[in-house]
Symmetry: C7
Subunit: 75 residues, 7 copies
């Protein structure tokens, strides 16, 4: 094992912009304001992306951890 842990990435990304990939190919980009051990994630100022382009603005969104595939910090 290592001193670093995967959840460090989440903790370090609080209040920063992340892109979250969901099952089904949708990506959500926003400022992460909270998460929990199930990887439930809240994004503020969220935009839905399709092929990297903004598809629609959403605002605040709660993403269920079970649907998350990956999280990319952009800061």
């Amino acid at each position: 094992m290592t001193d670093k842990r995967p959840f460090d990435v989440l903790n370090n990304s609080l209040n920063n912009t992340v892109v979250v990939g969901l099952k089904g190919g949708v990506e959500m980009r926003g400022v992460m304001s909270s998460y929990d051990v199930h990887m439930n994630i809240v994004l503020e100022k969220c935009e839905e992306l399709k092929d990297g382009q903004v598809k629609r603005g959403i605002g605040t969104i709660l993403l269920r951890g079970d649907s998350v595939i990956y999280i990319v910090p952009t800061a």
Copy 2:
């Protein structure tokens, strides 16, 4: 971790309108009257949406948490 938690979004949305995204691409919009730790959610005055347009009126609906992908507060 942070002082905020994802379920705060649910608690703050009680008796307010939310949009719930379900597996399979369906969205339900209604007034959230209750939820539990499994993210089972009850919406009142619920409408089913397709591409953001109202597809049909439903009334009260209990959504099983296992099917929930995201929740968007609209208030």
Copy 3:
């Protein structure tokens, strides 16, 4: 949290007609005679619906909770 809980909807619907949405897009409409904590549900006088129209009569049916997406009380 709230004083109301999602399972209240189930309890209040006992012996009343409900529509249950299942994975795969099927809807079953019938009188709910019992349920349990897994959302296993028994409907009496059940009819299978397709696009809101009756596809076939079934009678009594036990629906496995794992397949349930939503429950709509109609009373």
Copy 4:
């Protein structure tokens, strides 16, 4: 809650004919000789159905509960 429970339907159907709907749309019809809490089910004299018609005779079959969507007593 109610005095009735969903598993009553299974218990009352022992040694009677039931139709079991499985994930993927297959239906199996046979005489239920046993079941357990996971909804693993054994049917005797089982026939596979497609659109309500007999597709093939099978005999005894053990159905894994995880694949079951619904159970319809026919007696």
Copy 5:
């Protein structure tokens, strides 16, 4: 409940030929030499079937319980 249990079918089929249906529609036919509580199953002299016809010979195979839909004793 009944005195019979679904796993009796597995126990009675030890060293006999069974057909195992897997997710995705594949069937495997062989002599069951062992199983466990997860329905992990070992078949000897296994053949893969497609539409009831032998597609290829395999020999010994360990099937993961999570992929099993049904088991048909043929003895």
Copy 6:
């Protein structure tokens, strides 16, 4: 139950060539150097197969148990 257990097949296959079938239809063939109770499996000198033909060489690979459908010893 029997004296034999499904995991015996894994234990007997250590350092021998096996074919592992994964969800989605991919097969991996290689020398199994380790496994655990979740059926996480490490193959050395692994080759990806398609319809029984070598599609590409991979080398060492860790297969997540959750994706495994079957394991075929070839020794």
Copy 7:
């Protein structure tokens, strides 16, 4: 069992380049900086691959273990 364990492959790959296969056929290649018991994995300098070719650069990414099918060390 053996003295080697599947997670040894992860531990030995820390700070080395790995390719991670995800559900849906996507591959991610990067330097693994951390992992945990759920196979949640963090890659640095990550690139998304399609048919072995670089599709896009990503940077740091947290992959949810539930989506991982395989991990290939390339060092």
